[in-house]
Amino acid sequence: MLHIINFAHGSILMLALYAGFFLFTLGGVDPYLAVLILAPAFFAGGYLLQRYVIAPVSFGKDTNVLLVTLGLSIIIDNLALYLWTSNTRTIDVGYAQVFVDVGVTAVALPKLIALGAAVLIGILFWLLMTRTDAGKAIRAVSKERQGARIVGINVEHIFALSFGLGSAVVAIAACLLLPTFYVTPQVGNAFVLIAFTTVVLGGMGSFIGALVGGMVLGIVEAYSGLLLGESLGQIGIFVIFILVLLFRPTGLFGQRA
């Protein structure tokens, strides 16, 4: 929403995945419960990261933010590599094997839960943005930074708040992902471009867009995997990203003309 490209997004996801993994293997905490721990923790972490690392280092200039978050992602990714090695970790929860019949096919339970959660979060955010003061402040800063500052909105705080919220959502996503996915230090990289593609396709600043974008991409990924084969199939997402940026940068539901 704030038009900040956060390159460290994937790295934060990776951290959250590891956090969830360790909570499960060392603490016996079920991933869905881990949400209650990790979401606030990552919210706080994200807030502090933006307020006291990213903002000062980039001097507030948006063009630097990309480089700074790149630096951060390098640090985080390689710290993870150093601490936890590149061995793939997975967790084993009983219900990961449960399949739900949705008429056409059977879907793994965790994936259905993830879908439901995504929709729920989308709705929550929409409510947040339109009904709460904080949400309105975020939208104000998004549209007119100087003006927002003049009416007394603490812009640095708002940016940090947004980052914190984004990180919290990432943490939730990680918990939803954990039952059916694997964890390595490189896992974040795969998601970075997918996340950007989702946002760009859906349109910056639009939650419906992100949801729709995510679904479209999921379908695209599945079909290109089907048509082009396993290795070539990954291309689908990248090609969409390029095409959208070139020909329809506002995405499907975007705001900026």
Binding site: V53, L193, F241
Partner: protein, 309 residues
Amino acid sequence: MKKILLVIIVFFLVLPLFVESRFWLGFWTTTLFFALLGQSWNILGGYGGQVSFGHAVFFGTGAYVSAVLQVRLGLDAWTSAAIAVAAGALVGAFIGALSFRYGLRGSYFALVTLAFAEVFRVLANAWDFTGSGFGMLVPMKPGAANLQFADRSWFYYAILLLVVLAYALTWRVERSRFGAYLLAIRENEDAARALGINAFRIKLAAITLSGAMAAMAGVFYIQYYLFVDSHVGYGPAMSVNALLAPLIGGAGTVLGPLIGAVALGSLAELTSLLLGKEPGVNLLAFGVLLLVILRFLPNGLMGLLRGRS
């Protein structure tokens, strides 16, 4: 300034005479390689202000085209090298034409270059023609005609020659109208257009030159290591390496990438010494250095040196 330049050149020229160990020769060869790759990024990103996150797309093209032409089509190394460099220029022109025609700037341009690099990576990994998952192996046939040298110090001199040529070219660009226009576009593209600059054409020229130079580095790489796969050639690691040296050393300066490459290479050796050789340690240090530079020395190490003189 000229004196310092002379000292630097002499230093690099006589280096192999004093360096006995294969390790250190390799260190300097690799450092010069990154100085070349970094300069290619510098032209587009440092002078032109168009930050690229996918420079591997040009590098990988140079390495792969050279390898494929030699292995699959039996062409000689020199011809393959020339065609590979031209291929790099072509890829540059292609990506530039699309991106700049549709007005991509800043972060969006950076991400699009990354996306292109990923597309090429997937393609190289999928096609048997490019060796699919196994990569391309160029058979070892030492001899100048094959651009392979039994004596490793010849590789050193080769990369040194390439670096001197590339840096001399960059120096000329800096002092030309093309360079002035590039800087103007970097500082303020709209103002530049208002002053009669065809921004599209200038940026296109920059990315084409940048692509050719990066492909040249790719050609060196394949001749030196005789191996490339999709991860090495088109992966994010090489893209990151391409931008680290100029950013650390000083983007938009001629010597920046060289200084950055030396600094990074030295840092890598230092961290290996202090923290061991576990994977990730080097890059971790690089990431920290990048943030430190961005915060305290936005003009890179060159900024520090300039402040002194």
